[in-house]
Assembly symmetry: C2
Homo-oligomer: 81 residues x 2
């Protein structure tokens, strides 16, 4: 089973990387750009075949390691098996 | 319209960040973990309301700025409008 995890900054948390992307896109001539937010994306291959167990495992991984729950949110999809 | 863009390393490109995550998860006691790959995730708010035009714009953004096409792939979803 494969987990596809997105980790994003919470609303209200300053995102300088996102701002830098927005500025760079403006400099390249793209217009009509609003808010830009940058996050992380992680794909994890799991041996687990039971979906409910895999969901719990992924949530624990996010809370213990992948996301900083003070300033970040996570969401994930499971695929296969 | 909101674009949700995932940028991932191409297969075969070494991913030391992914390896570090896999090792850290192992050290935390998670087992049954296979390949881990880390990528980037970008959300861009666009004023554009026409889906076809927005798709072209997002593809140009990825190819010109967001993704390094030599070693990275991108995929995206458009949402709203």
């Amino acid at each position: 089973m494969k987990a596809r995890i997105k980790i994003t900054l919470k609303n209200g948390v300053l995102d300088p990387q996102g701002k830098a992307i927005a500025n760079a896109l403006g400099a390249l001539g793209f217009d009509g750009i609003g808010d830009v937010r940058q996050g992380k994306y992680v794909e994890i291959e799991l041996d687990e075949t039971d979906r409910a167990t895999a969901e719990k495992t992924v949530e624990r991984m996010c809370e213990q390691l992948l996301a900083n729950m003070v300033i970040e949110n996570y969401s994930y999809e499971l695929e296969g098996a």
